[in-house]
């Protein structure tokens, strides 16, 4: 029993540097910047109140209230702003600027903790208030920003750390948060893979074809895609196997590199061929932060790790 407890403790609280956290902070900061900039022209139109905009946030926010009145939403921020005499449109614009500012601070590494909390909260409000227009990228941004906000920021690469001359973070705490992100990614890919395996279309490749010709993801003309039709079954099966085997091969040091390259290539291909750039970017950021740092370690850092494992 004690042996199991020790093993669990070693697994959950490994010794870790803050390199992964630096990658996660910069990556998520870039993601927040790209997210806000990509929606600049439509921000007010997408998140407007009743009687304005595309679908409005009234219905999603009403549905949210039935789930839990505690869930943050844009309506709260707008209500606060309008009480101070600002118009709804101005309030929404301010929200956009706040999110852009938080993203920029995360990339640079100033006010890291406050920026992570602000980015998480404002993005969450937008994702929840735009319930009908939210998709996978919002889910993964919430997941990433939630872990970032709780992680032991600032990391050593941020000016925050240098200016405030803060002591180094507890390596076990750093290891714990990274482990949680790693396990979460394993669950995501495993269940995504299992769900895909249940669909016949992934085994014969027809799902790949459908995904690539379905508007608005049809960036490549079907006349070109049809020439590659013999590759679709191979591609479909490869995606299923890649996702379902992620929790197995990602932990093994020998197979980690190749699996990570395959997964990142898959997301890059999704981004480039289907136009889902934001989705591709967030997945690559989460993967590299969770499992990537060791692949590019300096020789002396590898030595330190090997020594700490021996001990």
């Amino acid at each position: 029993m004690t042996q199991w407890k020790d093993r669990l403790q070693v697994f959950l609280f490994p010794t870790e540097t803050d390199r992964w956290l630096g990658l996660l902070r910069i990556g998520l900061g870039l993601q927040v910047l790209l997210y806000t900039l990509s929606l600049r022209a439509d921000w007010n139109y997408l998140f407007a109140g009743p009687g304005e905009g595309l679908i409005g946030r009234a219905l999603p926010e009403a549905l949210l209230s039935t789930e839990s009145p505690l869930l943050p939403r844009l309506g709260w921020i707008v209500m606060l702003a309008t009480r101070t005499g600002l118009s709804e449109s101005t309030a929404l614009s301010i929200v956009w600027w706040i999110l852009l500012f938080a993203g920029g601070c995360l990339v640079i590494g100033i006010f890291s903790r406050a920026s992570a909390i602000l980015a998480w909260l404002v993005h969450l409000c937008a994702a929840e208030s735009g319930g009908f227009i939210s998709y996978g990228v919002d889910n993964f941004m919430t997941i990433g920003l939630f872990y970032l906000m709780l992680s032991p920021l600032p990391d050593r690469y941020s000016p925050d750390q240098r200016w405030r001359k803060l002591p180094s973070k507890n390596p076990h705490l750093l290891g714990f948060f990274r482990r949680v992100l790693q396990v979460h990614l394993c669950l995501i890919y495993f269940f995504g893979g299992v769900a895909k395996c249940l669909g016949s279309g992934w085994w014969d490749g027809s799902n790949l074809w459908r995904a690539l010709i379905r508007p608005p993801f049809n960036l490549i003309a079907p006349e070109i895609l049809i020439r590659l039709k013999y590759l679709f079954p191979v591609g479909g099966i490869a995606i299923c196997l890649l996702e379902i085997s992620y929790p197995v091969f990602i932990w093994n040091r020998r197979t980690r590199g190749i699996l990570l390259i395959c997964i990142c290539t898959m997301h890059l291909a999704i981004g480039l061929t289907m136009g889902m750039y934001l989705f591709a970017f967030i997945m690559i950021v989460l993967n590299i932060a969770a499992f990537g740092p060791e692949l590019g370690l300096a020789p002396n850092e590898k030595l330190v790790r090997a020594t700490s494992r021996k001990n």
Binding site: R40, E67, I133, I143, K196, K229
Partner: protein
């Protein structure tokens, strides 16, 4: 799927549904706390993107009828490709909705957004269809993506105020 697997999956579903408070009343504090946690952590949805199969897409087309008999056609539009992906998500939501009044409300809200851009319109007909994608073999034989009619809604805008007030 083997029946034993189906029974097992149903059993797991019952357990997880209870664990996530699905059977608790909407005003239950524990349910609130649980759902809040799931939302703020981004774990409120499953991870089966494009699984088990890639779903059919949907299209919403508005026929704008002017008082002089002229008819124009309009799609719900946004300015950027990133927002365009979100419109696709919205149409998927409308297509998946099984509750007719909710679907009608959503289509009506979208129709209102188009109407604000074309204030001279007398009536709007919203036609909602599902996308029919050909298989690679069918494509080689000349079949192209087409739309199957699902619903149509007629909205009269004569009695509507020019710009609804924001309450």
């Amino acid at each position: 799927m083997p029946s034993s697997l189906v029974i097992g999956a149903q059993w797991v579903e019952r357990i997880t549904s209870s664990a996530f408070g699905d059977k608790l009343s909407a005003s239950n504090r524990f349910r609130w706390a649980l759902l809040t946690y799931l939302h703020v952590t981004g774990t409120d949805r499953g991870y089966g993107y494009f699984a088990p199969n890639v779903p059919a897409g949907y299209k919403l087309l508005f026929e704008l009828h002017y008082p002089d008999g002229r008819v124009e056609y309009e799609l719900p539009g946004v300015n950027s490709a990133a927002a365009g992906l979100r419109v696709t998500t919205l149409l998927d939501e409308i297509g998946r909705t099984r509750y007719d009044p909710l679907r009608e409300y959503m289509v009506k809200t979208l129709a209102a957004s188009v109407w604000r851009e074309h204030p001279g319109v007398k009536t709007v007909r919203a036609v909602f269809g599902s996308l029919n994608l050909p298989s690679p073999t069918e494509f080689e034989h000349g079949k192209r993506p087409s739309y199957d009619f699902l619903y149509a809604y007629d909205f009269s805008l004569i009695e509507e105020p020019v710009k609804p007030e924001n309450h």
